[in-house]
Symmetry: C2
Subunit: 242 residues, 2 copies
DNA sequence: AAGGTTAGGTGTACGCCGTACACCTGTCAA
DNA sequence: TTGACAGGTGTACGGCGTACACCTAACCTT
């Protein structure tokens, strides 16, 4: 009867429950402490039970990515492709900020999951509806890179690794040590300027959202200019000059 | 005496030898098969011997990154910041293409290594010498993101995981299956167009180098325009609108 | 030459990981 | 009633990073 009590206490497992629990665990404990064993424990179940619902850990990660990408808002219907894409991407960014482990997870998988394909397809559709040629839409998608999913891959982003650590501590007061500043004067100059306002070290003390929108608009403006000029591929699909 | 023979046969270990062996192993066998044990075996040594030269695996990875970044050419001295930066970045790209594991490794570390800081400092210096304000240089560096190091993070890049697999097989002939094409028509359309020329699936069948330069020039042109307009930060370091 | 310090390679062991495989049990269709 | 099967269990294996104690040869000092 103790067994029955246990069995009743917890809802039956399902692929969906497994994936959501995995996302929640990665969100709050960090992706590096998401193991099959930890996840099973979280669900009150023995590790091997998970394998009845996901075939292995890689597939678990793929599923988690799909859960996250599925949270991105549906496309807004706007006449203007530029604003439509911009808004969609900023919405994607909001989602990814809730799941700091997701960018790295997405980049380290090497095939697109269905949810990501659907998202990309939808964004391409917006470009095409805005009058982009297939080629231009293609190149533009490449140019956007991961930014299309709402994350710029900053070279170093501490928030990507641990779960809540980025949010609770406002910013470690670790201004760069003087001997570092001496060796890298231009980096120091930028860090110094950024520190006036907010915090300390490059990439942490500056306004992420502003930087993201700055780059996004830089790209969108450039793209708009190409499209208005009736851009045609200068050298279509030939191997470029090394 | 057998021991002596062994000891003589191999060069003595050193941090540098360890790092270079690690890079070579990752290059040819893929980053996922770089373990302390494999690396030690490659060097004809017991695993724990490595810890006399690197303090742990994370630090090993940092060292490997420094080795790779150290391979990037010195900056060209040109009057024109745009060409100088462009050439430097394309040089970085050449290097990173020899070490397909490096982009992911770089992104997953969360602090800058000395070699990377030196590289970034040098690039910032080029912008500053070209007349950029500190703020504009700062934002521009963010906008370039990892592209400054020569890799766009394509959403899915198969070459990043395995070692030589990307090079030997020209391209798996896996055109996307028809039911996928039906669900994602815009993706299919692009894949189809790209397949005319080279190969198959999105991100694999298209010309990486072209896409990279397309995005790079898009950014550089936009940056040039801002700089020529005497760009000043519209809202300096205030939290941007969500 | 003698003795102590130390840099660097060795061997063993621990706890974690993913997961193969055999097993049990409750549910439901025939 | 029976038998298939979906789904949770238990054990076990090989691989991982690495702590810790140990050995050994080179070198510096007296």
């Amino acid at each position: 009867m103790a067994e029955q009590a246990e069995t009743l206490r917890r809802a039956p497992l399902s692929r969906d429950r497994v994936l959501r629990a995995a996302v929640a665990l990665a969100d709050q404990a960090g992706i590096e402490s998401l193991s099959m064993r930890n996840l099973a424990q979280e669900l009150g179940v023995v590790p091997m039970a998970l394998y009845k619902h996901v075939s292995n850990k890689d597939e678990l990660l793929d599923g988690m990515i799909d859960v996250v990408v599925g949270e991105i808002d549906a496309p807004v219907s706007e006449a203007d492709w530029k604003h439509a894409v911009r808004q969609r991407i900023l919405s994607a960014r909001q989602v990814l900020r809730r799941h700091p482990w997701a960018p790295l997870a997405i980049e380290s998988r090497n095939m697109a999951t269905p949810a990501i394909l659907a998202y990309l397809d939808s964004v391409i559709g917006t470009f095409r509806a805005g009058g982009f040629s297939v080629d231009l839409a293609h190149h533009v998608m490449h140019a956007m890179g991961s930014r299309i999913l709402g994350f710029s891959q900053e070279l170093f982003d501490a928030t990507r690794r641990a779960g809540r650590s980025g949010r609770t501590e406002p910013t470690p007061p670790a201004v760069l040590p003087p001997e570092v500043a001496a060796r890298f004067p231009h980096v120091a100059e930028i860090a110094m300027a950024a520190a006036h306002d907010d915090a300390s070290v490059l990439g942490q003390g500056c306004d992420d959202q502003f930087e993201f929108e700055f780059a996004l608009d830089l790209l969108l403006d450039g793209i708009e200019r190409l499209q208005q000029q009736g851009w045609a591929s200068p050298r279509r699909h030939r191997k470029a000059s090394g």
